[in-house]
């Protein structure tokens, strides 16, 4: 029975998994570099330009530095949990990429290979589940550090992520009512035919965007690591590559949430809305490359937006953060959901009350 499994399929998926994981790691590396460069450019500086031409080897140098630094594990901490924390953060950051459709399909020696690791029928909910697991990485690590500042940072992260997950989920429900499917692949296919979902759900997108900023612990919501209040926040006690994992997982999260946002609201690998690209008569492989390029262009824009906002807007105060989450975003998302539901009902009724 075990041998009856399609061996080629397993191999194909394994290769895809390795490629996606490696790609998200490399992209996250260069997002750290891009962040420093963008910060510098927005502040009229030059940014890192010493390692390699234009400084493109800077992330490698940063990674090497982290690897060679001394590894310190606090004496009074739970060693297993202390190591589990950053590992969990990294794991949950990478796992999201499994359900993202990176492109349509490619023909590989007569074999049609889908550019999605798993087309799960609960796709977007899977993403949500993994994201909600992400908070454990921070919480476990912060508790295991046995440090008050770490614990405070972890508690801040937990309450912030739970609060914003609600608004995020409700804004998503409105989107799901429009699309009528949970599968990310099907959403992209729908958007290829008609408008991008952003046109149907502008308010939902805005709420989703704000919540994505909060979920990624990015400025203006980076209170868990507010260095002027909490030293380093949840990673105060971490050093060496374990600290690197925490920092890295933040950037992978940024990348993944950019991918999810462009897939949900901006047509994923769709290049032009309302236009059937297959009319160009290109082969499937070329279409896949163009699609991947289109997706990456959107992702780059969102990543730039993340950085742009970070270097423009100062940090919230904690009560302002909670006010925004509970008193503004959640009611707004609820109203958005109700209006969307009413409009859909009206439409089903041929615009009669």
């Amino acid at each position: 029975m075990l041998l009856a499994l399609d061996l080629a399929l397993i191999l194909e998926k394994l290769v895809l998994i390795v490629i996606v994981v490696m790609a998200s790691l490399v992209i996250a590396m260069y997002v750290t570099f891009a962040e420093r460069k963008v910060a510098a450019i927005l502040q009229d500086r030059r940014g890192p330009n010493r390692a390699g031409p234009f400084g493109i080897l800077q992330p490698v140098a940063d990674g090497l530095k982290l690897f060679f630094k001394e590894e310190i594990i606090p004496e009074f901490s739970s060693k297993f949990l202390f190591i589990l924390g950053p590992s969990m953060a990294m794991l949950t950051a990478i796992m999201t990429g499994a359900v993202v459709p990176w492109g349509d399909h490619i023909d590989f020696f007569g074999r049609t290979v889908s550019l999605q690791i798993a087309d799960v029928n609960v796709g977007i909910l899977y993403v949500f589940g993994v994201v909600s697991m992400g908070v454990y990485g921070i919480m476990i690590g912060s508790w295991a550090s046995n440090n008050k500042y770490s614990l405070l940072g972890g508690l801040r992260a937990a309450s912030q992520i739970i609060s914003y997950e609600l608004a995020m989920g409700i804004s998503l429900i409105a989107l799901l009512m429009v699309t009528g499917t949970l599968s990310l692949k099907e959403m992209v296919l729908q958007q290829q035919q008609g408008w991008w979902n952003f046109c149907y759900q502008p308010l939902g997108f805005l709420i989703f965007l704000i919540c994505a900023f909060a979920e990624c612990n990015r400025t203006p919501f980076d209170l868990p690591e507010a260095e002027n209040e909490l030293i380093g926040g949840y990673h105060t006690e971490y050093s060496s590559m374990k600290l690197g994992f925490y920092l890295f997982s933040e950037y992978i999260n940024m990348f993944v949430s950019s991918v999810i946002m462009s897939t949900l609201f901006f047509g994923g690998y769709d290049l032009i809305p309302f236009y059937d690209e297959s009319a160009w008569g290109l082969s499937a492989n070329w279409m896949a490359i163009i699609g991947l390029g289109a997706l990456m262009a959107k992702v780059v824009f969102f990543l730039f937006l993340f950085m742009w906002v970070r270097w423009t807007i100062p940090r919230f105060r904690y009560d302002q953060l909670m006010n925004l989450g509970w008193r503004i975003l959640i009611p707004l998302a609820l109203v958005n959901m109700l209006v969307t539901g009413a409009v859909i009902l009206l439409k089903q009724n041929n615009w009669h009350f």
Binding site: I41, Q43, D44, R45, R46, N49, W311, T312, I313
Partner: protein, 187 residues
């Protein structure tokens, strides 16, 4: 109260309108400001590749001067040490022996001449005090070092290269400076 100028501006403190309370407009405006900075000229200079030109009155590292034949100008009169407000200069005088006329310009010369660069404030008073144009402040600055004692520069480190024996190094050390004897040959 009578205002001194007409530039004073009354601050408006009205309750914020709904659009203002949304903050979205303000955020967008702020982001436009940062976006505009992308296209601004960067004031940073890539240091080792590109160096900012010093002004002609820049006071950098000291140089003990020689004349055109390569003889040391310094006569160890001690005026620079007296003028030094930071007491960074110490010297020992010696008498010129027979056959040393090619080395030293006058009958007396400095056998030992030290400047403590950690004490020095680069005020340039030593240059002003010197009657023989023997010391001047160049357009370089003291490089970093690991030990304090490395910052006490001795005579060999301060002396300008020999203009006849090493003309290229001499020219390089001289830089854009015009020797004072050319401006005022009376010295």
């Amino acid at each position: 109260m009578q205002a001194l100028t007409n530039r004073a501006k009354q601050v408006e403190r009205q309750p914020m309108s709904f659009l203002e309370r949304l903050y979205l407009v303000a955020i967008f405006k702020g982001m436009l400001i940062t976006f505009r900075h992308i296209f601004k000229k960067k004031p940073t200079i890539n240091y080792p590749e590109k160096k900012r030109p010093f002004s002609p009155v820049f006071r950098g590292l000291h140089i003990l001067n020689r004349d055109a034949e390569g003889r040391e100008n310094c006569t160890a009169c001690g005026l620079c040490a007296v003028a030094c407000p930071a007491e960074a200069i110490t010297m020992e005088a010696a008498e010129r022996q027979e056959g040393e006329e090619g080395l030293y310009k006058e009958e007396k010369y400095a056998a030992k001449y030290e400047i403590n660069m950690l004490r020095c404030i680069f005020c340039g008073l030593c240059e002003d005090a010197c009657p023989k144009d023997a010391i001047y402040l160049s357009e370089t600055f003291a490089p970093a070092d690991y030990q304090r004692k490395q910052f006490i520069y001795n005579k060999q480190e301060l002396l300008i290269p020999h203009p006849v024996k090493e003309p290229e190094a001499y020219k390089k050390a001289l830089g854009n400076r015009v020797p004072r004897e050319k401006i005022n040959p009376a010295i």
